[in-house]
Symmetry: C2
Subunit: 113 residues, 2 copies
């Protein structure tokens, strides 16, 4: 992944916040803030992991995993995150969509099979 | 987005298949097959949209939206898709994780606000 490797999540159920976005032009402090937000989220109760990819054309998908909707609500209300959300809406993102989803089933192919 | 723009999805609830992956080296027919799979899925009952991003380092996240778990099961069992899944596991992906999630809430910032 670009900012994080595969998330090691527990058995479902748990929650995913799917954040799809397109960036505006220029960094405008985005890179540092994005890194800080991952650091901040990682320290919160209920954080399970994050997976994030951004393509060179500015399109990005970040999926953050949480143990409950209460944990997601606490993250959304975090003071430092609220400021970042305001800057994101104003300066960093041309368009974004947020979807909160309950993960019900999961499987995969591990890297060494 | 890289292979698709933002998906225009209905009001929740609906379902998301979150596919996180890292590619192997070389194309090996992947590009054409990926395009064909989007075309094929788009024609199926219950398909709501797809968002997909891949970074230059080979990390990718594709989120496909469906109206129900039955629609997802039908897509997983589609004969042409089954062959692609087999090639994906063998040739195209070093590692992948699939998560099936029920979207419960959605909001966003449209591009022209």
């Amino acid at each position: 992944m670009t900012t994080a490797e595969f998330a090691t999540t527990p058995s479902p159920p748990y929650y995913a916040v799917i954040f799809t976005s397109t960036r505006t032009a220029g960094d405008q402090g985005y890179g540092d803030a994005a890194q800080r937000m991952v650091e901040l989220a990682s320290g919160l109760a209920g954080f399970l992991g994050v997976e994030s990819v951004r393509a060179p054309d500015g399109a990005g998908i970040t999926v953050c995993y949480w143990s409950s909707t209460a944990a997601i609500a606490a993250w959304k209300a975090n003071a430092e995150h609220v400021l970042a959300q305001q800057r994101g809406m104003r300066d960093w993102y041309e368009h974004y969509e947020v979807r909160i989803a309950r993960v019900e089933r999961a499987y995969g192919k591990p890297p060494d099979r």
